[in-house]
């Protein structure tokens, strides 16, 4: 078993067995994170280049640590501090990076499809670290890994994703990923933040949070992405929070062992209260740790030799 493509662009087209391979490999990588010396020589002499056209702390640091724990060299390029501000196009930047000798490129970009364009331009593997409101596959894979680790299996798991579904690449990748692994998925939010025809993806839709939480095994809260909202899609943050903020009281409507997840960064008091974010069933910090193991797995699996 191996990954079918040279790139990881999204979970919409990936096969179930490929997801399983990534999750199994990540479980092995996680053992390395528990060692006093967190380093293995697998990617010695390879160079991973992180290209971030959008601000990011956790995803970029997570990829950087993943590369370094595998002994790869890692270079970070952010759009604000590079030739992008001089007007260089994505393709030209990509060719430059390739000419510099990158063995893998991790790309975050505000436009959906940018990683696909890059993947078609260069020979090195491209990993999508978030493209517009399209996909964020490594986030979904780390969410799948976290749920599988906690619940033993993904089959039959009831996931509810609550918040700004419309602007969320995390929601899209998770919907594809969880459905492929045999879970059932519902989404919940005000009608203005639910994409039209989202049911066609195979999910059920709720507008009342209390209904969405019923019988849920996993409650995934999404950040209100004020930076992506051009129009006023709800009257006020205060009203949003009154209707859609996860509190310990609301959490009690879900199954007694339900997990609380959040891809971060958390807007405390908006989509999740401090009490729920620090609840004993919250796995928000474990998601971050697991993210490093999952990204190590992806960099390893995509870095096959020429032979």
């Amino acid at each position: 078993m191996k990954l079918q493509n040279k790139d990881l662009l999204g979970l919409a087209t990936i096969k179930t067995e490929e997801i399983e391979l990534i999750l199994d490999t990540a479980a092995r990588m996680k053992e390395i994170l528990s060692r006093p010396i967190k380093k293995v020589p697998a990617l010695r002499g390879r160079t991973v280049v992180n290209v971030f056209y959008e601000p990011s702390t956790r995803t970029r640091v997570s990829f950087e640590l993943a590369a370094k724990y595998l002994s790869a060299d890692c270079i970070n390029i952010s759009a604000s501090a590079s030739s992008v501000v001089k007007g260089e196009s994505l393709k030209d930047t990509a060719r430059t990076i390739e000419a510099l000798g990158a063995d893998a490129v991790v790309l975050r970009h505000p436009l959906a499809g940018a990683p696909q364009l890059l993947a078609g331009t260069i020979a090195a593997p491209v990993v999508n670290a978030g493209d517009g409101a399209h996909e964020h596959p490594t986030q979904a894979l780390l969410d799948l890994f976290t749920v599988k680790e906690k619940k033993g299996s993904l089959k039959g798991i009831k996931l509810t994703i609550i918040g700004d579904i419309l602007h969320s690449r995390v929601a899209r990748s998770n919907i594809w990923g969880f459905l492929k692994m045999g879970a059932t998925v519902s989404v919940c939010g005000p009608a203005t933040l639910i994409p039209k025809d989202v049911e066609r993806m195979g999910v059920s839709v709720h507008h009342r949070m209390e209904e969405a939480l019923k019988e849920a095994d996993v409650v995934m809260m999404l950040r209100i992405q004020l930076e992506r909202q051009k129009a006023a899609l709800f009257p006020s943050l205060r009203e949003y929070s009154r209707l859609y903020c996860l509190t310990p009281e609301r959490l009690s409507l879900a199954k007694p062992d339900a997990l609380v997840m959040h891809p971060g960064p958390v807007n405390r008091g908006v989509e999740i209260s401090a009490g729920a974010a620090e609840h004993q069933r919250a796995v928000i910090n474990e998601q971050v740790t697991n993210g490093v193991a999952v990204r190590m797995a992806i960099l390893y699996l995509l870095s096959g030799g020429e032979g």
Binding site: I37, V40, Y300, G304
Partner: protein
């Protein structure tokens, strides 16, 4: 190499032969290390793992004291990762004791080129600094490419390079024998 297209040339050990070889190695380990103080076994994935478990049981029967057993996957330490067309599957590593200052006996089924053992030595040293590392193998088939030798050998088997030594164990293969395929 696909073992299915090869024919069996010779049977080297049967179940009883494997048992006797391992019991002798268990005695030798205890004798060389003057008991089981500070001793630990680490099996290399895959067939070194059940062999390490068996050696631990035999040592327990001989000495009455238990020896901890760890599992080591050396895939990430291989020296051919840059030339393989796709990455090999990772298996579990689980060394549930500190290796610091321990006498470690590495266990594998067959020693051939020595490259697996080289990788295993690096992998163990990344976990800490053992007092010493010894090597126990069921079969030594020769053709070393590195200056590495085993401290305990079940059976020395002269082979041609293109032949395959197949160790079949109950735990991994549902049968118990060692054969040469060509």
């Amino acid at each position: 190499m696909n073992e299915n297209v090869l024919r069996q040339k010779a049977r080297i050990l049967d179940a009883e032969g494997i048992r006797r070889a391992l019991v002798r190695i268990a005695h030798e380990i205890v004798e060389r290390n003057k008991g089981t103080d500070n001793l630990a076994l680490i099996g290399i994935q895959r067939r070194g793992v059940p062999l390490a478990g068996r050696l631990s049981r035999y040592i327990q029967e001989i000495e009455g004291s238990s020896v901890p057993v760890g599992i080591l996957d050396i895939t990430l330490y291989r020296d051919d990762l840059t030339v393989l067309s796709h990455q090999p599957l990772l298996r579990k590593t689980d060394v549930p004791f500190p290796v610091e200052n321990k006498k470690i006996v590495l266990v594998d089924d067959v020693i051939f080129t020595g490259r697996t053992v080289r990788a295993a030595l690096d992998a163990i040293i990344d976990l800490g600094r053992p007092k010493l590392i010894q090597l126990a193998v069921l079969i030594d088939r020769g053709h070393r490419e590195l200056p590495i030798r085993a401290d305990y050998v079940g059976k020395n088997v002269p082979t041609a390079r293109r032949e395959v030594v197949a160790v079949r164990l109950q735990e991994t293969d549902g049968e118990e024998r060692v054969v040469i395929l060509e």
